[in-house]
């Protein structure tokens, strides 16, 4: 899962800061012309808007179940039909975006910060400090993301009164705990590639502080590949959240999320496929958007692919 993606990304593409700056400009220039980039940005924008302000898209109450109207096919009254409880699927799909988007963005940001910090420190300082941090990274890397997630969520189960945000925060926490090593390894190798360059040595010789060297010389060069992986991982985290919900240990009803909706619908796949179709479609589109965005950014930063 997450650990797999690092293999497809080459760390540290550029050689010096001047080049990095023009590389960023270059990348932006080629991104601007990329239709896939704009497509994914548009989709992500839509989903984020859905997460922040769902009532913009629907005036229906996602918590209102009409028992007399269960499993209705799509109609003008219920655009996506109704589900097994008589809920309006369209409204629930719109409101369901929030959980996935929060989990994806928060988990990606946390892994990027945590993994980035640990990777930069161990790559920059080296020696026993690096050895120690690398072993810690290895330890967390040795526990596969989904396996760790399942164990954690099963060990700290949701009570019947757990609040929505507590459960979401738990999912974010566990995905961050087992997701950061990928970024840390990537970042460390990027830093190791940048560090021996002459301009870094020169900055050191001139007495620049470690923090200044990291900020102005190391980060600009090492950050791009990590951001790309974090973007692609965002999709992985969204899927992982849904999988935990499918197993019944992530978000659970009455919480509204795509994962919950999908796992509910799976039991009725034979007779009412539309109940499954719409939440799956939205979830897949969200995952796809982040993967495409990550791909587009990587292609823009990787001159080899041009």
């Amino acid at each position: 899962m997450t650990e797999t993606i690092a293999a497809t990304v080459q760390p540290g593409a550029s050689d010096d800061v001047g080049e990095a700056r023009s590389l960023t400009q270059d990348a932006w220039r080629s991104l601007r012309k990329n239709k896939i980039f704009w497509f994914s940005v548009l989709l992500i924008g839509l989903f984020v808007l859905m997460a922040i302000w769902p009532s913009l898209f629907t005036n229906k109450d996602p918590g209102f179940g009409d028992i007399s109207n269960v499993r209705e096919r799509p109609s003008s009254a219920h655009w996506f039909g109704t589900d097994t409880q008589g809920y309006d699927i369209y409204a629930r799909t719109i409101y369901g975006a929030r959980a996935s988007i929060i989990v994806g963005i928060m988990a990606s940001l946390t892994t990027l910060l945590l993994g980035g910090l640990i990777g930069v420190l161990s790559g920059f300082y080296g020696g026993w400090f690096d050895a120690l941090l690398s072993r810690v990274t290895d330890i967390f890397y040795a526990i596969p993301l989904l396996l760790g997630g399942i164990l954690f969520m099963a060990s700290f189960p949701n009570g019947p009164n757990s609040s929505y945000f507590l459960v979401v925060a738990k999912v974010v926490l566990v995905l961050s705990i087992f997701g950061w090593p990928t970024i840390a390894r990537l970042m460390r190798s990027s830093v190791l590639q940048v560090k021996p360059n002459e301009y870094v040595l020169a900055a050191r010789a001139l007495g620049a502080s470690p923090w200044r060297i990291i900020r102005s010389h190391i980060l600009p060069n090492a950050l791009a590949p990590a951001i790309v992986v974090a973007t692609i991982n965002l999709g992985v985290f969204i899927v992982a959240e849904a999988t935990l919900s499918f197993l019944g240990i992530g978000l659970t009803p009455p919480a509204i999320s795509w994962g919950v909706a999908i796992s509910d619908a799976l039991s009725a796949i034979r007779t009412y496929p539309h109940v499954l179709f719409f939440p799956s479609l939205f979830l897949s589109l969200a995952v796809l958007a982040f993967i495409l965005l990550g791909d587009a950014v990587r292609d823009a930063f990787d001159p080899k692919s041009r």
């Binding site: 497809t8 596969p144 993301l145 989904l146």
Partner: protein
């Protein structure tokens, strides 16, 4: 080479210790009374509870519990589950089916993934390339459990080509095709994409130009000179991805009702059977680390520039 293996094995020790401690700590935080339901309808007698807690070292602080557990683990004693059956016996019964499932999934990854990637890479920009690119994106963006349930419905129930569930521990290879494909589906897509990217990049390499300038056939220039280099990262990927397979096995075995290691962990979690879960996951982590070591060694064989001295 021998030195390298020894060094890697030594490095594995702290990693295994750390990882198992995390797992141990997590699982033994499992809430609920482990003796609940052991004595039929009535609550257990205080004597029984005391004896049970003593046997399972439940009165010690966590690090001590861990130390005692580890001491037994090193001697090959994986403990007994709450039904009194040694975990080792349970695993011995179940690992074959999960192993077969994982091997078949890897075989699918290697065969279908690489084939699709090579076809797409060689015909870059043509129909088959677009087909592979789009269909792999499709697979990657749909959660595996949706793919699993959907394929189970189509192939297992609607068309009846494959059995929909595989509860037998001695299931035939044929009946495992569908679950193995589902388990490997995400990785098949990744392998195809990775193979394509590497192939396209390597096809531009100078040594491929040399191969053509030597008057070799196109087939040989691609099949012998380009493919070998392109597959090195793919092998690494498949190894690293083994961990993903182990997590995915829990989901897949649940969908297809397979009584393998994944199903065992799931059952253990649900019945609060800490020993069973910790021992099984620890074994899996060790297997995963060994597979990674094996892949690194294979890497050295495939790429002579890597030296393991």
């Amino acid at each position: 080479m021998g030195k390298y293996i020894v060094r890697r094995l030594l490095q594995m020790i702290p990693v295994v210790l750390g990882a198992t401690f995390i797992i141990f700590a997590m699982v033994f935080a499992l809430p609920g009374d482990p003796t609940a339901g052991k004595c039929g309808e009535r609550p257990c007698s205080p004597e029984y509870v005391a004896k049970f807690r003593e046997e399972h070292n439940l009165n010690d602080p966590l690090p001590v519990q861990y130390g005692k557990y580890l001491g037994k683990f090193v001697q090959g004693d994986l403990g007994t589950n709450y039904y009194g059956i040694p975990v080792k016996e349970d695993l011995a019964k179940r690992y074959t089916i999960t192993g077969r499932l994982a091997l078949m999934a890897i075989a699918f990854e290697a065969v279908i993934g690489i084939l699709a990637g090579v076809l797409a890479g060689v015909r870059k920009g043509r129909f088959i390339d677009n087909l592979v690119t789009v269909s792999t994106l499709f697979v990657i963006s749909i959660p595996v459990f949706v793919i699993g349930v959907f394929m189970q419905y189509l192939f297992g129930i609607k068309w009846g080509i494959f059995p929909a569930t595989v509860p037998s521990l001695e299931a035939s290879t044929y009946s495992l095709i569908l679950p193995a494909f589902v388990l490997g589906s995400l990785s098949i897509a990744y392998v195809a994409r990775l193979t394509r990217t590497n192939l396209v990049e390597n096809l531009r390499a100078d040594y491929v130009r040399t191969a053509v300038a030597k008057g070799l056939t196109k087939k040989r220039a691609v099949g012998v000179h380009t493919l070998r280099n392109s597959l090195i990262p793919v092998v690494t990927f498949i190894g690293a991805d083994f961990g993903g397979l182990l997590g995915g096995a829990i989901v897949t075995e649940r969908i297809f009702n397979i009584q393998g290691v994944g199903g065992y962990i799931w059952k253990g979690i649900n019945s609060r059977d800490g020993v069973a879960v910790v021992s099984t996951v620890t074994v899996l982590v060790i297997v995963y680390l060994l597979v990674n070591l094996l892949v690194d060694l294979l890497y050295g064989v495939l790429d002579p520039r890597i030296s393991h001295d």
